[in-house]
Amino acid sequence: MIAITIDNRNVLAEPQDTILQAASRNGIRIPTLCYHKRLSPIGSCRICMVEVTGMDKPVPACTTPVAEGMTVETRTERVMELRRTVIRMMLINHPMECHVCGASGSCALQDLAYEYGVAAHEFGEIPVNRRVKPYATPLIPYDPNKCVLCLRCVHACQEIKGIDALSIALRGSLAHIQGERSRCISCGECWQVCPVGALTQAVTDPPTRIHQMEAVTTTCGYCGVGCQMELRVMDGKVWGVTAPDDPEGPNNGSLCAKGRFGFDFIGHPDRLTVPLIREGGRFREASWEEALAYAARKLKEICASHGPDAVMGFSSARCTNEENYLFQKFLRAGVGTNNVDHCARL
């Protein structure tokens, strides 16, 4: 550990810490926007600028390593005013219509504007004609006016997913995110990390903001990985899926296209909710007791007349590991055959 001073407090930091990590380790808050714990430091927003004794200019806390004896000030007049200026710049062309924005309440820009008391378009608007642009996937609309170009999306696409479908198009004030449809896998990682309302999802039209809905933590059923996810539920309906904020479980806070956007089956009218038994070429509804008894009787008959190897079991990747284990045990020990297989993935 090395000793540094932050805001007149003597604190200890790991030698490989950045100023931001050392501050948060010691309970000192430095405001951030582009920083995301699952991504390498980006350094694009310039909100976390702090002053370090001996340096002429402020430095970004998220990318600057600590050094023994360093003295850091996080709230000098100079950096507070810098932050205000940067927030004002981010609000240029930003529609001031938080009441109709899906991110309101979970928006980093809104929070910063509140904290630093930036109320309006103080720099005015810059006439660049920008509408919602085509993006890498039709599942996610992109609004360049709301975008603050923090580049979390670009980094997530590259660092977490290794896809690299996003990049910056054009330069200066015309810069915006552009997506490459041929590369994009519609995983929605960009949407998950977007700190503002620039990226939204086009799968459902929720009656309220998804982040305000009840979060039901569950395990994704699409494959055997066991990704942890949160179903966003209101009025008994699933309106969206998010990954838990704290990287837990095998997915570390990440999801794939199926887990994140493939949830409409849950409330779909075609979904089977009771067992069906075919009689005379037509299905009729049955109780679980009846259906299981029927299947058991038929299996026993087949085993008796043709031997257990006339039976084969095929299970689904939607089942958990435990369920699949029981399934093969049932076939091997119960039925008496090794004819068992699995669809491996969906």
Binding site: M55, D56, E81, L82, T85, M89, L149, S173
Partner: protein, 643 residues
């Protein structure tokens, strides 16, 4: 004559410090016809004409900065736009009194908070102008009359880019690597260097010596990053996509398939010109192939990159020595529209040591020794070899000797290690391979018995006063003669070009250093359809300089063939001007806190190395490349000149 001169170059706009006349370094004239009325850049303003409107010049400078802003940080992306809009308003005669303080405070904040040097330096000339030319701004607001636009020349450079003979966009491709866009990085490299795998291995890297990060901790490993993307392409079976080019009819002949010749063919090919290269050896690469051993530059890399040149409409005719197998006149008779001379420095310099002309068995010049070894032969026999010299070629010879099975390889140099021109990394590698170094030793006589080398008589030296090169001159110690027993002696003290293939009646002017006299910018000889580059123009120089000459000669040859003449372009002149004032400032304290060490590529274990000619230095893995590339400070520099 009391001429107007103002310079705030290098001064803090807030302080009235010592008046440093750094600005006087900047030339007053652009070319024979035009003066430089004012210059704006990353360290201030230089003005020689009081009629230049600084408000308009600031408008132009900030507008250019906004166009260069990559969009990756808020203050530069939006801030330069706001500044530009305010300046535009003032220039249109619609400025207000509140605009000037707003410009000043915003400019300062953008310089404080931006991520890279475009945003950090773009407001600097504006701040200087607001301080030193405030009356012009106040007048513009007061009179509220539109200000006409001046004509300016704009250029983007960087300390590394400026130092590189071929001016590669290093910040551009290093950033592409940091973003994982390897093919995009390679595309940027190929704009100015067609042999990325070669240069990525053996470049002398002036960029790294001029890297600003080096002032905070260590320079960026630019060379190894270049190699990384070249290897990535090769290892993944990818090939560069060349645009469809309409083939031109005129064919251009090139003498020598070395780096200069290949570069010329490559960049002519991109312009649609077919080329024919006459190469004396059976290999592409020239001195890079037979002068640089395989453990530093594997031959397949050269062959691969030469093959890419062939894809662009270049025919390489191997085993044809110009002057012997075909004459210059015969080349012109084949219908070549122009000739590019790019022969290498294959001739060894004499060391003025008794016995070097006696033709002893066991004596061979370094150039011949390396060439023989490059073709897989062991040209000298015995157990012990002495190499004379202190440059990279001497190190190449002695390390090759180790690999050819000489039990003892000794390097003799007349000064000390500190004065050795060889790359320190090469010296380190040679020591790892158990090469013995004899410093302050001057050979005076090669000893032989029955026509076969038996030893080398030497004198001890001491260092005296510095000579013209700044290095201390070695002075012999009287009577200190001693003998090193050896089976082989290889001098490697320098090279020269053999230009005997150029007949005197051709009228091609030669210099007294045995090089072709050509224009240093256009590489044209005497306004004729003959151009020269690489070692035969510079004398033995670096690989990247050879590539640069080939690249630029291709541009000017195309111009010559299309327009009938070629003169340096404005961007060439601007480049030279900027270099006068210096893009890299070794006195500067960069505004970052260092401590992120450079990543050094792994090298083959010394015991493993000497058994073969396998490549010693390994490249970066992807994680190392990303980490190293992310250390770049992106020191882009914007320069604007009013003519």
């Amino acid at each position: 004559m009391n001429r107007f001169f103002f310079s705030s170059w290098g001064r803090d706009p807030d302080k009235t410090g010592p008046w440093e006349e750094k600005g006087l370094l900047f030339p007053a004239r652009f070319d024979d016809d035009r003066e430089i009325r004012a210059f704006m850049g990353w360290q201030g303003i230089i003005c020689r004409d009081p009629s230049v409107n600084m408000v308009d010049m600031c408008r132009e400078y900030i507008k250019r900065a906004q166009q260069e802003s990559c969009g990756q940080c808020t203050p530069c992306r939006m801030g330069t736009r706001i500044l530009g809009d305010i300046l535009e308003r003032i220039c249109q005669g619609r400025g207000t009194g509140a605009d000037l303080p707003a410009l000043k405070s915003l400019a300062r904040q953008i310089a404080d908070a931006s991520r890279c040097d475009i945003g950090q330096t773009a407001p600097i000339p504006l701040l200087h102008a607001l301080r030193h030319f405030r009356d012009q701004f106040e007048k513009a607001v007061r009179e509220a009359a539109p200000i006409p636009r001046g004509t300016y020349l704009f250029k983007v450079t960087a300390p590394c880019t400026s130092a590189c003979p071929s001016h590669l966009d290093i910040p551009g491709y290093v950033e592409a690597v940091a973003q994982g866009r390897y093919e995009a990085a390679l595309k940027i490299i190929r704009q100015d260097c067609c042999l990325p795998g070669v240069v990525g291995r053996v470049c002398v890297r002036p960029c790294e010596a001029n890297c600003r990060r080096g002032l905070a901790d260590e320079p960026i490993a630019v060379k190894t990053l270049k190699r990384f993307v070249a290897d990535y392409e090769l290892d993944h079976g990818k090939r560069p996509l060349f645009p469809e080019i309409a083939r031109k009819k005129q064919r251009i002949a090139i003498v020598g398939a070395g780096p200069a010749g290949l570069a010329c063919a490559y960049y002519l090919g991109l312009r649609g010109y077919p080329t024919t290269i006459y190469e004396a050896l059976s290999e592409p690469g020239g001195m890079a192939a037979v002068g640089i051993p395989d453990y530093r530059l594997p031959r397949h890399i050269l062959r691969h990159e030469a093959h890419l040149v062939e894809r662009l409409g270049c025919e390489i005719r191997y085993g044809i020595q110009v002057g012997k197998d075909i004459s210059m006149d015969q080349i012109l008779e084949t219908g070549a529209a122009a000739i590019f001379l790019a022969s290498g420095a294959h001739q060894a310099l004499r060391m003025r040591c008794q016995g070097e002309d006696a033709g002893y068995e066991g004596f061979m010049t370094g150039v011949v020794f390396l060439r023989e070894a490059a073709f897989g032969r062991r040209p000298l026999s015995g157990e012990k070899m002495v190499v004379i010299g202190g440059g990279n070629v001497a190190i190449d010879c002695v390390r090759t000797a180790v690999r050819l099975g000489f039990a003892e390889a000794v390097l003799v140099y007349r000064r000390t290690e500190a004065e050795m021109p060889a790359d320190p990394e090469e010296i380190r590698d040679a020591k790892d391979e158990k090469v013995a170094f004899h410093f302050l030793t001057q050979p005076i006589k090669i000893l032989a018995k029955k026509g076969k080398v038996t030893g080398l008589e030497c004198l001890r030296m001491v260092l005296g006063e510095p000579d013209a090169s700044g290095r201390r001159r070695p002075v012999p110690v009287e009577g200190s003669n001693f003998v090193i027993q050896t089976d082989a002696v290889v001098p490697a003290i320098g090279q020269a070009c053999d230009l005997s293939y150029i007949p005197p009646e051709s009228g091609i002017p030669l210099t007294r250093w045995k090089t072709v006299a050509a224009d240093p910018v256009t590489f044209q000889v005497d306004g004729r359809p003959i151009f020269a580059g690489g070692d035969c123009f510079y004398g033995p120089l670096t690989l990247i300089a050879a590539i640069a000459s080939g690249k630029n000669a291709a541009r000017f040859m195309a111009k010559y063939l299309e327009k009938g003449k070629c003169l340096p372009e404005e961007r060439d002149v601007m480049e030279g001007l900027i270099q006068k004032i210096g893009v890299y400032d070794p006195q500067e304290a960069p505004p970052i806190i260092g401590g992120r060490a450079r990543i050094h590529p792994k090298t083959l274990d010394p015991e493993m190395r000497t058994a073969s000619f396998d490549e010693v230095e390994r490249g970066f893995c992807a994680a190392e490349a990303l980490q190293e590339a992310s250390r770049c400070l992106r020191c882009s520099r914007l320069a604007l000149a009013a003519l």
